[in-house]
């Protein structure tokens, strides 16, 4: 159980941070109460992890082979990277940190699945692009019906509020399904857990983060995001959920934050306004390189550190 401590911490911090991408706008704008959002998100994160989490777990497990010690090193290195980068205020993605640490161990073992790594890298690049494309299509499609719906403004508001809750539930499902691999996949590779155990433990760890610590993050992240009208906010959540779900089907864990930024960018393109600053885009680019690089170096350093032995002199 102690071996899983790093993974549970990683899952907790992932839940605390990434629930904001799903319910941040709705909670910070008081469309949905935090209690409702946290309850719905926790249930659907666990459901997503249990039902569809195996795809990502299989992919990450297949990147390299490792023993239990190395699995622990990977989760500790990834968790440390996420914490360190968050404290320093640098852009970070849990998915990218985990893959970086796996690559570090893979290099050390001399066994790295380059084809699998290529697929993961391509999906990272595709995440914001996918978010933007989904947002454009969903905005156009739903917008057509929204403008023609035979409902008065009070009913339209109530429909938006319920849709936000449903979209958030779907987003939480996609988050659990996609990101649970980051939390426990390495322990499946190391033989400590089977896929279902890994999905459930990872799902509960993420849900714990959502319940215990996502409120301040939801409120600050929701307010930090560009001010969107309620309909656009709904589209962003849906686009993010669809994008992340699509990558779940491909079996690649991706960053929900980058999917959200892509979706917000898509909204900007539809509305002809500047919703994402150049600085934010630079942050995404930095996260692509910094997160895996730092995590890879940390995994190597930790692995080196735990193998140091005192050799008495003659």
């Amino acid at each position: 159980m102690l071996s899983l401590a790093g993974a549970i911490f990683l899952g907790w911090s992932l839940g605390a941070n990434d629930a904001a991408n799903v319910f941040g706008t709705a909670v910070s704008s008081r469309m949905i109460r935090f209690g409702t959002a946290a309850a719905v998100a926790s249930v659907f994160v666990v459901l997503g992890a249990a039902v569809s989490g195996r795809f990502g777990i299989e992919t990450l497990k297949g990147l390299t082979s490792m023993n239990l010690d190395q699995a622990v090193v990977v989760s500790v290195a990834a968790a440390a990277t996420v914490t360190l980068m968050t404290v320093l205020g640098l852009p970070v993605s849990t998915s990218q940190a985990v893959v970086g640490a796996i690559v570090g161990i893979g290099l050390l073992n001399g066994r790295l699945n380059l084809a699998g790594l290529g697929k993961v890298g391509a999906c990272w690049l595709g995440t914001p692009v996918g978010g933007a494309l989904c947002a454009i299509m969903i905005y156009r499609f739903l917008g057509y019906w929204y403008n023609r719906a035979p409902v008065n403004i009070f009913q339209a508001d109530q429909i938006l509020r319920w849709s936000m809750l449903v979209a958030g539930a779907y987003g939480a499902y996609a988050l659990g399904a996609n990101n649970v691999a980051n939390v426990t996949a390495v322990f499946v590779g190391a033989g400590l857990l089977d896929t279902m155990q890994a999905a459930l433990i990872g799902g509960f760890a993420i849900a714990l983060g959502v319940i215990t610590f996502s409120r301040p993050v939801m409120e600050t992240v929701g307010n930090k995001l560009v001010r969107l009208d309620p309909f656009s906010a709904l589209v962003v959540v849906l686009a993010q959920a669809v994008t992340v779900h699509l990558y779940t089907c491909v079996g690649v864990p991706v960053s929900t934050s980058q999917a959200v930024i892509g979706a917000v960018l898509g909204i900007g393109l539809v509305k002809g306004m500047n919703t994402v600053s150049a600085g934010t885009l630079k942050h995404i680019l930095l996260a692509w390189f910094i997160s895996p690089a730092v995590s890879c170096c940390l995994a190597l350093a930790i692995d080196f550190g735990i193998h140091l032995r005192y050799v008495p002199g003659p």
Binding site: S29, Y139, G143, I153, F154, D157, F231
Partner: protein, 217 residues
């Protein structure tokens, strides 16, 4: 069919329409007071009654507005819409307030309108009241999501320009007359207040247009 889902929203809509109805009643009392009593050589006996009625409806409108605000901030509607509706009702509520001010000016300052100004003032009041009717229709259409908001807004805008023109004409005629200067100033202030009705109606109408555009995606 799904009305149980919209229980609070339906109650809110009911209250808003009650508010609009009260505004209409306030406008009726004001019209009776002005057209039936003031716009004659002598102010009729019923003026006090209509003044009280106008005040009663204005107070009732205020109470309804409070009730609407309480219901909205008790978790009905999304915050964006709440702010918009509060602002819309706040702007709309200035119209009955002006009705009351005009009648109180006539009552407390014991104003008598000179005969040569009566036709123009009658016309000014008629158009101002028409603006008020149109804005009431526009508010109802906005909440029911009916079409024709833009057409109503254009008519209110035209009427408002006509009211401005009438107001200038009346004030020019007033200061060209041989009335007592003190009387001139009091009547000028009264005419300016009457002019505020169409100005406010136009402001509300333009705000509704913005809200309607904002809600389109």
């Amino acid at each position: 069919m799904l009305s149980f889902l919209f229980r609070k929203e339906n109650r809110l809509m009911e209250l808003i329409f009650k508010y609009v109805e009260t505004l209409g009643r306030c406008r009726e009392s004001f019209a009776e007071a002005m057209q039936g009593c003031v716009l004659h050589e002598e102010i009729c006996q019923d003026f006090e009654f209509y003044l009280k009625q106008t005040h009663k409806h204005e107070s009732r409108a205020d109470d309804l507005r409070e009730e609407i605000n309480d219901l909205m901030y008790g978790d009905t509607l999304i915050p964006d819409s709440r702010g918009d509706i509060v602002e819309l009702l706040q702007e709309l509520d200035k119209i009955p307030h002006v009705f009351e001010i005009v009648l109180h000016m006539i009552q407390t300052q014991k104003l008598r309108l000179p005969g040569f100004l009566l036709p123009d003032i009658k016309e000014l009041i008629r158009i101002s009241l028409e603006c008020c009717d149109l804005v009431i229709s526009q508010v109802s259409a906005f909440f029911k999501k009916d079409a024709g908001l833009r057409a109503l807004s254009n008519t209110i805008d035209t009427n408002e320009s006509h009211c401005d023109h009438m107001e200038r004409k009346i004030i020019t005629g007033l200061f060209e007359s041989g009335l007592d200067p003190f009387q001139k100033i009091l009547i000028r202030d009264l005419v300016a207040q009457i002019g505020r009705i169409s100005d406010q109606a136009d402001r509300v109408s333009k705000f509704i247009n913005i809200l309607s555009m904002k809600r389109r995606v």
